[in-house]
């Protein structure tokens, strides 16, 4: 019996089948890099090897980390990126369009059956489309760009099944924080996680992306979801080329030893993770009365269109508490436009939100907008490691966009159901 991970790897390796533990060389269907870990790091290695990229059509470059530029150094990084893309004749270049993990699928680049690598740790996001996708360091990426190949050790599959349906105001983000708490940050053991169960298949594509994205927090190599009609619909809409045999990737087979974890979505409450680990999650209720300074809706994990929409549901007709700053950095220009078109952005604005450019923003503290000493932030991002978003003694809590929005209104950590349901 072949698992989805095994089929994807076998296809890429040009083999009939593969077994757990096999080391195989795979052909890469797509390599994604961004301005921080991309051209500036791989260019010297490619020059040393005297190679250009193996296939310019299979490389996608996104600028999102040092966006907007703010000094000579960041300007130089963007110039180097542009020049390199031009030199290498790469057509798929998304400059300041939004965050790579969101922009790449939004433009239809990821479809079921692909084998992709990304120069960023949240690259498992692509697994939401039934593609095998994982993150690598700069040296390995340079190797991929030179050869179009990469080795993998065929992983086990850890099945994470969410039964039943989520209650209103509970999201994919809550499911992931709960999972982080249950199995810990190393729980994925660099194997492939596959999400399944009714609650997962009920999710929209963007919410599924949140689940796959945070497979990185679990220490897994990949975070897969078997493709279905929702996947197919999203890809068609994004102008992607859906392969004819896409349904053959609709596989939910367990490994022989059948490692599986089961959760009940119906009884899941909104979650908040305390500093400085996503594994410090608990029911939002447990954090009641903790005041916050900054409410942040941002990142590939938590500021896609569905996330903005979720925040607007809570913020509609309400306004941000005195003393709290609500900052919103939409994940991509496309998401922002969609939210402008249906009035979502206006609702956020009327509630008092400040908007940041569509880029990584405060998430990894790359720009000028950072958390100050002792500030408490409730954030819809994926990670709350010490000092990641700014000062070492700032405190970052993680939650869903509903919970961030509700807490922005009350000024303290709040289960959004209390606000909405009285």
């Amino acid at each position: 019996m072949t698992t989805l991970a095994q089929k994807l790897i076998a296809d890429a390796a040009g083999r009939e089948n593969v077994a757990v533990g096999d080391v195989v060389v795979c052909h890469v269907s797509l390599a994604m890099i961004h301005d921080s870990g991309g051209p500036r790091r791989v260019k010297p290695i490619l020059e040393k090897l005297n190679r250009k990229v193996w296939d310019a059509e299979r490389v996608v470059v996104v600028t999102d980390h040092y966006v907007p530029v703010f000094d000579d150094q960041t300007r130089a990084i963007q110039k180097l990126t542009r020049d390199w893309v031009y030199d290498q004749e790469i057509k798929n270049f998304y400059e300041e369009q939004g965050i790579c993990h969101v922009v790449v699928p939004e433009n239809g680049h990821i479809v079921p059956g692909m084998f992709c690598v990304g120069g960023d740790s949240h690259s498992p996001t692509g697994g939401a489309f039934g593609a095998y996708m994982f993150g690598v360091g700069a040296t390995e990426m340079a190797g991929v760009l030179a050869t179009g190949e990469i080795w993998v050790k065929v992983p086990k599959t850890i099945m994470i099944e969410w039964r039943n349906s989520l209650s209103p105001l509970v999201t994919a983000k809550d499911m992931m924080l709960k999972t982080c708490r249950s199995i810990g940050l190393g729980g994925g053991r660099y194997q492939a996680i596959q999400y399944a169960g009714q609650a997962v298949y009920n999710l929209s594509m963007q919410e599924r992306m949140t689940m796959s994205n945070m497979a990185a927090e679990l220490g897994a190599q990949a975070g897969l979801i078997a493709p279905d009609e929702i996947t197919a619909g999203y890809i068609k809409n994004a102008g992607g080329r859906l392969p004819e045999d896409w349904q053959s990737y609709r596989i939910e087979t367990h490994d022989a030893d059948g490692e599986a974890l089961r959760f009940d979505a119906a009884s899941l409450a909104p979650q908040i993770a305390a500093p400085h680990s996503p594994a410090n999650a608990d029911d939002a209720e447990a954090f009641r009365n903790i005041p916050l300074d900054i409410a942040y809706i941002g990142a590939c994990t938590g500021a896609k269109y569905v996330d903005l929409k979720a925040a607007a549901t809570v913020l509609s007709g309400r306004s941000v508490a005195k003393g709290v700053t609500l900052k919103v950095a939409p994940a991509s220009l496309l998401d922002q436009k969609q939210a402008e078109a249906d009035g979502t952005m206006q609702i956020l604005e009327e509630a008092g939100a400040q908007f940041l450019p569509t880029s990584c923003g405060i998430c990894a503290g790359y720009g000028t907008d950072r958390l100050l000493e002792d500030q408490v932030c409730l954030s819809s991002t994926a990670r709350n490691f010490r000092g990641r978003m700014g000062a070492a003694n700032s405190k970052v809590y993680l939650a869903s966009p509903y919970t961030v929005a509700a807490s922005a209104i009350t000024g303290e950590m709040t289960d959004p159901r209390h606000l909405m349901e009285g």
Partner: protein, 164 residues
């Protein structure tokens, strides 16, 4: 031949390549390698020494430097009962030999800290000199063995593309 450095505790990327020195040159970073658990390590380690660790060797971040410092310090091989995935990849791609010990550390009382050892790379064996005994390790798949033998991914590709 070299000395065996045995670690009972979990060795993460932050102990191998501590954050505060990540901006420093490799030589400086290497001076702080493992200092949090064994302050004398960086100054007394010699070329040819072997690291023996338990579960989850190299758990933590994706920083390549965690493997790079060990190679820089002359570590001949890292043997562990299990490795964190990204560290394992980085080590191989940087040409640092890594071997899985297919058993528990406690099963090998002769594997003491400070023991004289050498590594048989092709035969995948850890040789205990004083006991004249070989301990079998999981062999690296051929493909990865070639990669390591070439000194890592970049030299391997230089050879493949016949650069210089």
């Amino acid at each position: 031949m070299g000395r065996l450095w045995k670690f009972e505790e979990t060795i993460d990327t932050d102990v191998l390549a501590p954050g505060p020195y990540m901006n420093s040159p490799l030589s400086e970073l290497a001076r702080h390698c493992l200092e949090a658990v064994r302050p004398e390590f960086a100054t007394s380690v010699k070329v040819g020494d072997v690291l023996l660790v338990g579960e989850d060797m190299g758990v933590g971040s994706s920083r390549e430097q965690a493997a790079e410092v060990l190679k820089y310090l002359g570590i001949q091989a890292v043997v562990a009962t299990s490795f964190a995935g990204i560290f394992y990849r980085n080590a191989i791609n940087l040409g640092l030999p890594v071997f899985v010990l297919p058993s528990y550390l406690a099963d090998f009382p002769q594997l003491k800290d400070g023991a004289q050892v050498s590594v048989d790379f092709d035969g995948a064996k850890l040789k205990l000199i004083d006991f004249d005994k070989d301990i079998n390790l999981e062999p690296l798949p051929n493909f990865l063995r070639d990669l390591v033998a070439d000194g890592g991914l970049v030299p391997h590709l230089e050879k493949r593309f016949a650069v210089s």
